[in-house]
Structures are given as C-alpha cells and as structure tokens.
Amino acid sequence: MTVDTLRLSAEEANKLIADGAISSDELYRAYLDAIGERDPELHAFLHVCENDPGAGIPIAIKDVIGTKGIPTTAGSKILESYVPVYDSTVIANCRRRGLRVIGKTNTDEFAMGSSTENSAYGPSRNPWDPSRVPGGSGGGSAAAVSAGLAPWALGSDTGGSIKQPAALCGHVGLRPTYGTVSRYGVVAFASSLDQVGPVARTVRDCAFLYSVISGRDENDSTTVDVPEVELPTADDLKGLRIGVPKEMNGVAGIEPGVSAAVNKTLELAESLGASVEECSLPRSVDYGVACYYLIAPAEASANLARYDGVRYGLRDDGADFREMVMKTRHAGFGDEPKRRIMIGAYALSAGYYDAYYGTAQKVRTVIKREHDELFERFDVLVSPTSPTVAFPIGAKIDDPVAMYMNDVLTIPSCMAGLPGLNIPCGLSEGLPVGLQLIGPQFGENTIFRAAHALEGALGFDIVPERLR
C-alpha cells in the first residue's frame, strides 16, 4: 500500500496499522522516503533514525529532548558529540505506546530563538515557502509535520517555541499547562517556563499525544496529577465563552492579513454558538516580553553553566580549568546563548537582582493574576499566535529585539503557566495564519474542544500549497 504522508493524520496512520493495512515498518519506511525526498530542501532534521524499535507509528522529536542512544545536540556545537545514556520521561512514555523515533528535529540553539536561524547546524525552511523561516525554536518539528515527514512530533515551548512555529507552518501545536508534562531528560533552557508539548496535524492527534506524554513524574518535582484527557468530538461551541484581550488583538505590528483571518474566525465561532466578548490584559502584554527576557535568561545562565567541557560534549583544552572552560564555552556556544547568558548573569548579580530578576518575578505574579481574573468570566482567550506570517530567512537575524517581539503574544500566557494551542485559521499572502487559544490552568480539554470545532468549521488544508 502506498501512503500519502502529506495527508495522513496520526490517528489515520495508527488505524492503518491496527487494521493490518500496513505494517509499522512499511509506514516508517514511507516517512523515511518522504524525509529523503523533501528534507534536503527543508532541513527539518538534524538526525534521522534508520530503524528505531517499536510497533507503532513514527514520531519526530525536537533535538532538545534527550533520547537514549540517539544524538541530542539541542542545536548547539557544544553538544555535537553528545549521545544521552537515558531517555527523557516523555520519550519513555512514547515508547511505552509503541511510538518510534524517526529523527531529531532542528531547533534554535538551546531553543533560544523564533526562526531556527540560531541553530548551529543551519536554519530549517518553511514548507510553504522555503525562502522563509518555519518559526522557532521548534521550526524543525513544525516543518517536519507540515511537510509530511512525520505524522506528529514533540516540541518544547518556553515562550512560544511550539505555538509560533505551528502558526507559521499552519498546523496544530499545544503548549501544555506548566507541570503537566515532565521535563526530565529535556535539555533545560528556562526551567520555570519550559514545557514539552505535541506538534500535530489535527486537534485530536494533538490531544491524543498530550495524553501520552502528560502526567506526574517522580523524576520531575514540578509535575502534578493531570485531569484525564478527553478526545474532542463536538462540532459546536455552544456555551463557550470566548474572551478577546484587546491588547493582544490590537498590538502594534500585527499584520492586517493576520487580524482579518483571526476576526473571521471569531465570527465563525459565534456562528457555532460561542459568545465572543472583548476583554483586557493590560500589564501582561505591556510587560510580558521584558519580564520574560529577564527570567528566561537568568535561569538559562545557570542551566547552561554545566557545559564546561569536564564530563561530556565539546572540550577545548586550556592551560588550567578556568581557561579550558572559557575556551570551550567560547567555541561551543553561538551568539544567542552567549547573549542570554550575559543578560541572565547580569540580572542575577549582586546589586541588580532586586531591580531585575526580583522585579520580574513580581510582575510575573501580576501577569498570572490578570489571567486568572479573566478566566472567572471566560473559558478561553483568543488572539493571533504570531503578529506576522512567516518572514524571510535573514530578515530579523541582525535585530534580536525585533526577533524577540515575534513572541509578544505567546509569552504572557507562558509566564502565567497556562496552556495555549495554535490552530491554523486562514492564509495571508499565501501563508498560514495561526490562532492562539489560551485556557485556564489544566484547561486543555476545553481548548481541545474549542479548537476541534473551529478546525472542522474552518476546513483549513494544512498541506502547503506548493506540495499539494
């Protein structure tokens, strides 16, 4: 049987195997073929597994997620030679369900970026237009799922690294509630923000994969018990109260085509039975990015300190320990990690801690409270995921702040620890526009239900036009 990987959802693929229509190996081979055909152009993968064990369907894994015996570089030269001796909890969970790792996908170095241009191994390309970025940091997983190189993938999201690439490549991506998915084995960027989540072609696939990877993990003290995941079935939005934060829909820099697609989707939601009402998140949007760029780099400055050349990864010899560490880190880290390590170390240093890190933590509490208050009145909050559609490779690489502003709409809910999901909601200038649905803590089921109904009503074709 021939398989059109461009069209196949994970649910359908799984059914093909369950029905005996295709073997797990044949399916795996079909995806390898697709990778062979399209990845030379897209560069979604940093490593392709020839034959990972398992009886189920394949999955692509962002390269910050540790995989036993399979190289895990986090997109960095400093981990070029690193092969983990243990599986992340999320990988162990996937393996228990028979999922087979088909490869490790490209990422901005240590997940720091919004375009994958910060990968030490070169950028990935957007399947809709290879001259454009697929978003980031999880651009590799996004491009792979969008171009049919994997039925689904795992990403990680710190300030938008699942949602924003899903928006730019036109598929589904969930950043789960903080604490619902184990971070054990996942190369840390900013511990209080990092969450692993599903990258998928349909909302139901996304919900199913979330049910596979989530749950309390004794190896991650910050995980909690997770409500049972309900695979969404309903076509309507009756009773759903949608809040539309005006700052997130009217922020400077939102492209008109993006606003138009989002507004059209809101009208559609009303026609499906939802109530749509404007609301406000004044401080979350104003201070979210600034606050994020203190907390995330501060944590990163400590998380990345272990790459010292002593135990694994790159080592550049020096006359003494200090010189060896400095040379190793100078050679091993790219500009963006270095920039964030410096910002973070500064924000934590004596005399500056209160003004920067301490204040940012207080603002974070304010952001969380602002969201909590809205969820007393609304079931989901909606906005564009990214202010823009995919931008050309190179357009923002020399302007870090412009790059950081890509995440202005995804960061606030990340700071609040809340779940957010992207679904494609239309095209602007021939490129996908992403809609962000934000839920309350542990509100994944509500988001899945809303997103699933909208997905059906929108009828968006996730296969990039040029590949159809």
């Binding site: 997620i65 540790g66 895990t72 986090a74 981990l79 690193y82 983990p84 001796v85 243990y86 992340s88 971070r183 054990y184 084995g185 996942v186 190369v187 840390a188 900013a190 511990s191 209080s192 004794e218 190896n219 991650d220 003290s221 910050t222 501060a298 944590e299 400055s301 400590a302 300190a305 272990r306 010292d308 002593v310 135990r311 694994y312 320990f321 200090r322 560490v325 170390a345 934590l348 240093s349 004596a350 801690y353 890190y357």
Partner: protein, 467 residues
Amino acid sequence: MTWEPVIGLEIHVQLKTETKMFCRCRNGFGGEPNSQTCPVCLAFPGALPVPNRRAIEETIKLGLALDCTIAERAVFHRKNYFYPDNPKAYQISQYDEPLCAGGHLDVPTEDGVTRIGITRAHLEEDAAKNVHVATSGRIHGATATLVDFNRCGTPLVEIVTEPDLHDAETAKRFLQLLRQTVVELELSDAELEKGSMRFDVNVSVRPAGSDELRTRTELKNMNSFNFAAKGIEREIARQIRIYEEGGVVEQETLHFDPTHEESPPMRSKEEAQDYRYFPEPDLVPVVPGSDLVDRLRGEIGELPGARIARVAKTLSFYDADVLVTGGLDRLWAAVVAAGADPKEAANVLANQFVATGIDAGAVDAGELAKLVSARAEIPRAAFDEALAKVGEPGFTAAPYLEQKVVADAAELDPIIERIIEANPAQAEQYRGGKQGLLGFFVGQVMKETGGGADPRVVSDRVRTLLS
C-alpha cells in the same frame, strides 16, 4: 591594649542517608571512583533533582536540637560557580529561606553555660572530590585534577554560628559538643578524618570592650579539633601582631595545613565570588507541617549539653565533659548503677576504655562494674586484658577477678633483691640521691612479675631495701 577575639564557625555535616540528596544513587563513602553516579549527580543535560525526604527530616531534627525555628516554608536556591567538582556549575543550597534559623547551643562550663547563637542550619548537596595529581597531594603545586563524583550530591547540613565565641578553647568545645549531638541524633558519623564533618572558622580581633566587628579571615580545611584550636590561636596572635605594628588585616581565606607553620592565603577579597543566588526553579518549596515537626521533636532524647551539666554534679566538670562528648556517659551511669565507684569508673572509661576503641553499646555494664571495683586487687596485666575483651559477647569478669595481685613483702623481697644485685650502678646512684631511679626499679619488678605485683607495695619495698 588588650584584644578580644571574635570567632564564628561554619560547620558542614554529611548526612548518612541511604541515598544522595537529589538522586537515587547510594550515599556511601568509598567505592570505585565514579561508581556511585547517575545522570542527575553527573549533571547530564535534562537531569532534574528530586529532594531526599529523609534528609529534610534530619535537618529539621538537628534544627530542633539546636532550638532553631523551623521554617514554615523553606526554599532551595542555586549557588552559581564554576569548579570541576561542581558539575551543574551551581550547588543546590539554601539562601534566605533556610529550613532552620535562630537557635543556639549551650556549651556547659565550670560555672554554668556559654550560649552560642546558631544563625541558621540549612540543607545542601556536597561537591564531588577533586583529586589533585601532584607530588605533594595538596592543592598547591598540583599539575592535574581528576574528579570522583561518588561524593557529589551527598546531603550536607551547613550550620552557621553567630560570632559569639571569644576563645579557641570554647570554640573547640562547641565543636565537640555539636559533633556529639549530631552523632547521637544518628544523622551523621561526623568523622573529621573522613570529612563527614568539616568546619571553617572566621576570626577577627577587636579592642576589648569594643563592639565593632573588624575584618575577618577565614580558616578552612581543619581536620581535627586540636588543629582548629591551634589554628585559631595562631590567627588571633597574627592579627594582634598586625594591629600592634600599625598594619591592616586583609580579608582572606587561609588554607590550614597543619604540616606548615603559617597558613598560606587561598583567596583574597578582590576575587570574592558573586554566587548569583536565585530560587531553584526545578524544585518546589519545602513546607514542613507542624505534625512532622512535632513527631521529629518527640524523637529527640536528652541532649549531650544537658547531660554534661547533670553528670558534672557527680564528677568534675572535666570528667563529665570528656565522658559525654566521648559518648561514654551512659555506660558510666550503668557501671555506677551496678555498684562501681563513680570516680573510679570515670577514670577507667575516660583514660583506658576510650583507647580500646570498643563500642560502648556492646559492653555489659555489670561485668565492667566488677572489673572497675577490683582494679586495685588484680594484676595490671589481667585488668588490661579483661578491659580489651569487655565488649565481646558473653564476657564475664570472674576469671580475671581470681588473679590476685602479689602484695606480700615476703614474696616480693627476693625478686627485688635480685634486681638490685643485677643493677649495681643504678643502686649506687639511687643511694647517692638520684630518687628518680625508684621508678626504674619498680618497673623492673613489675616486668619480672608479669604485672602481677601491687605497684604500691613494690615501691614501698624497693625504697626500704635500697635505703
């Protein structure tokens, strides 16, 4: 001018929990280098810490024993610095929300107690062990460093005192008392030689009567209480000398090496580290409930400090201190209860028994009491032999008590005469006034009798026969 020393201590105690502080690796001394390691304690990418419940409970228990307030909410912080023995390049420690704070330890003295404030007691993880490969084996002059991560992640309690100490002797006694407290709570072996108890000392001096705090120096890596006392005394003298010569004491860390006369400087103020502490985001705050704290409080028995004061009512303060800090006072009380003279029992335990290395818990106090009571009547050799075996299962004193000491002059005189004859030169010198030679003759007789003679009778007879 008279000077008053100001001394503060920082003590680290390794907890003897089954597993390490943040992973499931066995917590134990030794083993092949790097055999007790895992992704967590080697700081592999993605590894996360999970706190050891037992270690938290034991720290709270120690805090209670030191009359500390137990935090309702304690937080782990990251302390950031690069060093080969610190694999994450941060140590998980505690900063401004420690588990225990604001306590004290009363050190008994001849006329009461000296109260030493405990600023805080917090929980952290120990570092790995750097093995500096060089001829001297010490940091200075090392050419390469190997790292053994077996120790890395051992639960470590840090206890910080107020600068309430003003002399080396009290500092030493504080440390001994704290050690015994920790040992009795069964939290740690607290063995200085093995490094399971370590301490740093901050020393400054000021004009007597002043309450200023002058620049302090830190003495590190002292591996015995006596070295600590010696190091403190030497440092006090050094600082006084500097001030009296019109100089300024520099803030520095002195790496104490008992084999050298001076303590060589390790780190000066200019290189002072900024550890960039911040709350450890991989862990949630520790919230010890009052039930837990009450249970732990209930597990604490009478502490050594209180027992010294109690035992000192019967014995001298010195004997009481030695018995309690040596972990022997309970055996002493049992031996006395079984009929031995308190002072005699204390002498035997503090001077002889302690040298045998026998576990006090293994001793049948009734049998030891018989031995102590018969000490004067049985030969010295028999007593020593019995004491060496007093910890063996089923030990009885009876066979040793049957060996009576030779105290009969008629029996001893022929032996003494023979020895005098064999040593005419010494005999002449003694008679010429060299009284110190008495011991020589007594010793010869004791040797001849295999320790079976009563030394008091022997010395009496020697004196008579040589006169």
